[in-house]
Amino acid sequence: MTSVKALKPETKTKNETQNAEATQLNKGVQNRMLGIFKAREAGLVAIILIICIAMSFASPYFLTWQNFRAMLLSFSIEGIVVVGMTILLIVGGIDLSVGSVVCLAMVIGGKLFLMGMDPWSASLIAILACGFIGFLMGQCVTRIGLHFFIVSLAFMVIARGLSLLITKGTPQSLFTLPPSFKFIGQGDIAGMPFVIILFFALVVFFDLLLRHSTIFRKVYYTGSNEKAALFSGIKTKRIKILCATLCGLLSGVAGVVYMARFGAATPQFGIGMELSVIAAAVIGGASLNGGSGTIFGAVLGAALLSLVTSSLILLDVPVYWQDIIRGLILLVAVSADHLLNRRKRSASAKS
């Protein structure tokens, strides 16, 4: 998008003949840029539209506001975690602990509230605690030199243990939460659930940051080739810690929103969430090798998974099939992307 805007004024300043040449050249570059940059997102939008059209014929309930609202709701909160995960994947990390950390935020917030703290302060502390867990993971990775996979696996178990410890293994009921707080998870603004608004606000915010801010450019550099980033003077360790912390904070936010939505804190919540979150980010174009991915793409990935799930439910597909189908979608999406990229690479290497 930015390339299109930036190139236009430049062509005007040149004289006629050069102008024609330059526009042609720029168009080629533009097209290729759009092609590479947009291929994933455009493909996902197309697939989502196709499924929507097909479903609108297959089920009379599909094209209703209730259904869309339910679908949006179903991935909005988890979507907040997807945003954090995508950032961490871009820097070359991964976080298996998100499900446990979401649950921990919920449990800490709930416990502090039950102990008499006001829910806003309790939530803030819960979110910061989750950010701190991310920060600790970043420290383990950069100081000791461990891999994110292992560190977050350990913290996944630790955070789950903490949740069970705090609640002594039993769900906490939080029906006494004040309505002003419950509004975060249950309220509507002009018929639109607040959760969805919050989610899209975060998405737009982080998408813009990732595209245009210098600090997030360094995230891409670090993820793409840490050595190259280091030699450009980038403090890659700090960047990695930042991303891990951010992922923890966003997981904390999601946990607090879940708490407000359900009015309860269950220590078993969020088991397996990391897998669907990673799947969404990867379907949306993030690479496990780091260096690529966009928030917008990841959100489309999450939307696709949610759409497929609700379509399968509407079509009365047995519940056992749903996981199998979602797994296959992940496989197909990633393979298609990989194969396309390989062709592109070999073609340009030869020219």
Binding site: V29, T214, Y220, S232, G291
Partner: protein
């Protein structure tokens, strides 16, 4: 005139290994100072110290009149010392423009990117070098262009000292020429340049002084105009190298039988109608610019990539190879140009590497017999005069030249009839180079078909009996005897002249 940079008595050790024992170097502004030495002599260690990658254990770095401490790469760049890396350190997923100006982006204080300015600046830098599209992702570029991006990146740093660590290793001669023009330009701007290379010819073409290191010690600093390549080589290895290239095979003329004949080989869209013969007892060279399809041809011949039409025959018997495994079974092996990437397993032992292609000979009932494996590795190692403490050492502990010998030993373990060597001496020092040449020549005289791909023209000319030159996926011609000159090869490689007639004749004759 005062030197701009002086290093005194630098020591550095990594664990028990002493990489540098008190080396010195002084650099004048506007000077091209070549640093030479075999692999492991400590050149790269000193350059890493100068660019802030790690600190010296001992010693002083005196820069622009005062002592400085370089704690990290950013510090070194801030002082004005830039490094062009030997191994390409770029972000493959990021655009050319962003890669070139990465350090500038890092130094930016503003919160938002200015992509337009970034592209303009990148275009300006590349204008002097090579027309590379600045919006392309670096990972989509061929290696030579990536090397240019790496160089462009260093040029954007406002440096007083610029270090080039083997910048021409992946470049063809014409690209190297462009680089030398830039270096001359930098020199005129009074920038001090430290230049590391194994290519003697270019050192003598562009440097003012030459400093030689050996085994982590300073040997000598010489004025380039007062010395000779032989003197430098002698100082580097500490003994005299008599002949760099072994004698060619004198009785090759015509009559020898063909070991391998390739006929009208094409792949989907790039290689076109390639035909040639590899004759018994000869070392055949495959020349051409980078991107001419030399490696692609090798891949197509030995089943690493698919060929669409054409045939390959070995000693008259047609070969139908679908995979590289089949190729190995048929006695046709390929030594990759990318030694660290696909030539050897760096973390595995020398023995495990050497026997990797032929585990059956050293195992019984599915278990690898370690003693057999080591015995076999030692045999082959001796044959190639491999220098190592023990064959159980990891390959990563060896110098480039010895790593390459391990890779060659791996090929020999299956008793191949034909070996294709892709850049066999890349990143290998002078002493080991001449040993590898001897190995190739000996193989050829024992009747093994030897096909050598190389970007270094003096190497092809010195080593080969005959050279086939490719241009854009086609055979541009072949040279032999007195026609084997850089000029002739260059003309063919750049597509200026074609000798299709010669090739056609040969086809008719066979």
């Amino acid at each position: 005139m005062q030197p701009i940079l002086e290093v005194h008595d630098i020591h550095k050790s990594f664990g028990p290994v002493q990489a540098l024992r008190g080396v010195q170097l002084s650099l004048m502004p506007g000077e091209v100072h070549a640093l030479m030495g075999e692999n492991g002599a400590g050149k790269s260690t000193l350059m890493n110290i100068l660019s802030g990658v790690f600190p010296p254990d001992q010693g002083r770095i005196h820069f622009k009149g005062r002592d400085i401490i370089l704690s990290d790469p950013a510090k070194a760049q801030a002082h004005g010392i830039g490094l062009v890396h030997q191994e390409i350190a770029l972000c493959p997923d990021i655009s050319v423009a962003e890669n070139i100006l990465m350090a500038a982006t890092n130094a930016r204080t503003s919160f938002l990117m200015n992509d337009r300015e970034l592209r303009e600046r990148a275009k300006k830098v590349l204008a002097d070098l090579m027309p590379i599209p600045v919006d392309e992702k670096v990972g989509n570029l061929p290696i030579a262009s990536q090397q240019i991006v790496e160089i462009a990146k260093a040029l954007t740093l406002d440096c007083d000292v610029l270090i080039f660590d083997e910048p021409t290793a992946a470049l063809t001669d014409s690209e190297a020429e462009a680089l030398f023009r830039i270096i001359a330009d930098l020199k005129a701007r009074n920038i001090g340049i430290i230049y590391i290379s194994h290519r003697m010819a270019e050192i003598f073409a562009i440097s003012d002084r030459i400093t030689v290191f050996r085994d982590g010690t300073f040997i000598d600093t010489l004025m380039t105009e007062d010395t000779s390549p032989d003197e430098v080589a002698t100082k580097m290895v500490g003994r005299e190298i008599l002949h760099q290239f072994p004698a060619k095979n004198p009785d090759l003329k015509g009559g020898m039988s063909s070991v391998m004949s390739v006929r009208e080989l094409s792949d989907d869209g790039f290689l076109k109608d390639i035909s040639f013969d590899l004759r018994e007892g000869e070392v055949l060279g495959l020349g051409g610019l980078i991107g001419a399809g030399r490696s692609e041809l090798a891949h197509a011949i030995c089943g690493l990539s698919r060929k669409t039409t054409g045939s390959v025959a070995m000693r008259g018997k047609p070969l139908n190879i679908e995979s590289y495994a089949e190729s190995i079974r048929n006695g046709l092996v390929y030594l990759s140009e990318d030694r660290k990437g696909s030539g050897v397993f760096l973390d595995l032992s020398i023995a495990a590497n050497i026997t990797a292609l032929d585990l059956r000979h050293v195992s019984s009932k599915g278990f690898v017999l370690q003693r057999e494996e080591e015995k076999r590795a030692e045999e082959l190692g001796r044959l190639l005069s491999l220098r190592c403490a023990h064959v159980s050492q990891p390959v990563s502990a060896l110098s480039g030249g010895n790593q390459q010998k391990v890779a060659i030993a791996k090929m020999l373990s299956v008793h191949p009839d034909i070996i294709i060597f892709d850049e066999p001496t890349r990143g290998v020092d002078v002493g080991a180079k001449s040993e590898i040449y001897t190995i190739l020549r000996n193989l050829a005289s024992k009747g093994v078909g030897v096909l050598v791909i190389s970007s270094e023209m003096p190497e092809l000319i010195g080593l080969c009996d005959r050279i086939i030159v490719l241009h854009e996926g086609r055979v541009a011609g072949e040279v032999e005897d007195e026609n084997m000159t850089e000029e002739k090869i260059m003309k063919l490689a750049s597509g200026l002249s074609r000798q299709n007639a010669v090739v056609k004749e040969r086809e008719l004759a066979s």
